[in-house]
Amino acid sequence: MSDLSSSSSYLLAFKAGRAFRREGSNFVDPSPTKGAVALVNGEDGLLHFVWKNRTSGVEEEDLILFPSDASFVKVSSAPNSRIYVLKFSSSNQRHFFWMQDASPDRDEEFVANVNGLLQDPDYTLVWGDASAAGSSATGDASTSAAPPAAPATTTAEDTSAGSNIGATPEQLARIQAILGSMSTGGNVSAPELSLTDILTPANITPLFTAHPELVSTLFPHLPPDLPVPASQDAIQRIISSPQFRSSVANFDQALRTGLLGGLVRSLGLPEEAGTGIEPFLRAIQDQAGRESSGAQPGDNMQTD
């Protein structure tokens, strides 16, 4: 949202993902998305708590914090997890995060420094021995978590070899993948296209005009309690609605995680279709080819 690049400076950063409360329960599920938490001295002179998606490079969360209002604490009911919650004394707002550094050794150190800054933005950061190589009072992203765009105040030190002892092969592989994506600018998995740019009224309306017979195939998928009769007009209204648009945007985001294998099977698609937007659209193309060649041979205008 805000541009923190110019006269703002990173105070500290560490690798952390977000976690979300599961609807209808007290569970907090860590999201696999790679991210980083950064405390930034914004050009507005205020302290910002930023969560950056390390895959897309997008700052998806940017919270302005006021001295003594927020604290960053471990979720006590999950002592063995590395889930932390950012909470405020002035509101019920809660933001959950989980530590993504391979080693938990420095979790407490980061947390102590975060809380120091949350209490007093002029707090002098204290780093332990483990990070002696890169520690400084001005800023230290001594893991590889600093986002690619991090300014020079961060120390470009990779996950220090010492703190990785004991990491599982999976964890190491993950770190390598992170480093790999960062060396190419972090854009390797930037999406090539978005479903929201395909499912537009501009694309769908001419489809209805050219193929009116397809309209009724959509009727079973409309809300069951729609207060108007199913019609092309109703579908036009739905596809232009903020509710449908945000649904598509959510689904698009979910597909980008590549983890929707189970979900897409309910659409009659192979699990592979849940691994990304391109595979999803390819699978739909195949599905169309199969259905057309079976039911309406003449209508099969395109096969891959």
Partner: protein, 317 residues
């Protein structure tokens, strides 16, 4: 996590008049909520009888981090009316509505709400908040218009833009004064006596709200105002019947237009609410499949890639 730390099953809902009105319906209250686009006397007069104004703003930490330095008014710890603290996340909209409804004399409502109101009488705000948010039926009414979780996207790390914390503050007349009820504040805030003639309480309420808005730097706040008012439909229908019976055709025609506007607003709300309850993934898939069958998918993909490329080049993202 403790119960006070989380949403306890309360889901996010949109802050839309159609959503509020559906909630009121489920509570058995014959009111509706309308957007308020202006605080000028004419706009407010056209919505009478008005029961409360709900001031809704994008929560910024600085706006209430210093809870003790109130912009105006004073805490009233002895407020004898209904006031509950917001103790779980996501319940703020419903809590604001309950804080308003609880202070309306002779409220006509369903048995469950009446029972809840009488059961919580005399409780302190915190306990009251806890009792309210542990009422299953109320949570179900609240959740009825949140998107279905069937898509089970939880845990995938999706950005939840709706989690932007909107905060709800109720302004209403009680015991001769304007009160501000904010579930995140310790006590109700009293803003002094209001007029009983002329424009009535909304005059002082307007002044208080306008003063509050003016304390925020320009652009620092996203806000909107909602009005809790009598459902105008039955009133309009009665008036129309009277006018027609007495042969006042011109006045009747005017009312017919008003009625048509109200009815089309209800139709729109009903339509949008049905979309809110629905999981659109199946529709999205069916449309993509239809596009593929018509040979239009590949072209649309190419276009979408160009859009993405151009927006990246333009630095739009």
């Amino acid at each position: 996590m403790s119960g006070a730390d989380d949403s306890s099953g309360w889901q996010l809902t949109e802050s839309d008049p159609g959503v509020f009105t559906e909630l009121l319906k489920r509570l058995g209250v014959p009111y509706i909520v309308d957007d308020l686009y202006s605080l000028d006397p004419e706009s407010l007069a056209s919505l009478q009888p008005l029961h409360a104004l709900i001031f809704l703003f994008k929560w910024l930490p600085n706006t209430s981090s210093d809870a003790n330095s109130l912009p105006a008014g004073q805490y009233d710890p002895d407020f004898p009316g209904f006031f509950a603290h917001q103790v779980v996340n996501n319940a703020c909209a419903t809590l604001a509505v309950l804080n308003a409804l609880g202070n309306i004399p002779d409220l006509s409502c369903g048995p469950q709400l009446a029972e809840l109101n009488s059961f919580t009488t005399g409780m302190d705000p915190q306990t009251r908040g806890l009792v309210i948010t542990s009422a299953d039926w109320l949570r179900e009414a609240h959740n009825a218009l949140s998107p279905p979780s069937a898509i089970s996207l939880d845990g995938l790390g999706l950005p939840r833009t709706t989690e932007d914390a909107y905060h709800f503050v109720v302004y209403l007349p009680a015991m001769g004064s304007i009160y501000e009820l904010d579930g995140l504040k310790e006590h109700p805030i009293k803003h002094g006596a209001h007029d009983t003639s002329g424009e009535g309480w909304v005059k002082q309420a307007r002044e208080v709200i306008e003063a509050r808005i003016s304390t925020y730097p320009v652009g620092a706040l996203e806000f909107s105002l909602l009005a809790l008012r009598d459902d105008p439909l039955p009133i309009l229908q009665t008036q129309l019947a009277d006018l027609q019976a007495s042969g006042q055709q011109a006045e009747a025609a005017e009312l017919v237009v008003k009625l048509a506007n109200e009815t089309s607003k209800r139709d729109r709300w009903a339509f949008e609410n049905s979309l809110r309850r629905h999981n659109h993934m199946g529709l999205a898939h069916a449309i993509l499949l239809a596009m593929a069958k018509a040979g239009k998918l590949e072209g649309a993909k190419t276009d979408a890639k160009n859009i993405m490329k151009n927006s990246e080049e333009a630095g739009a993202r």
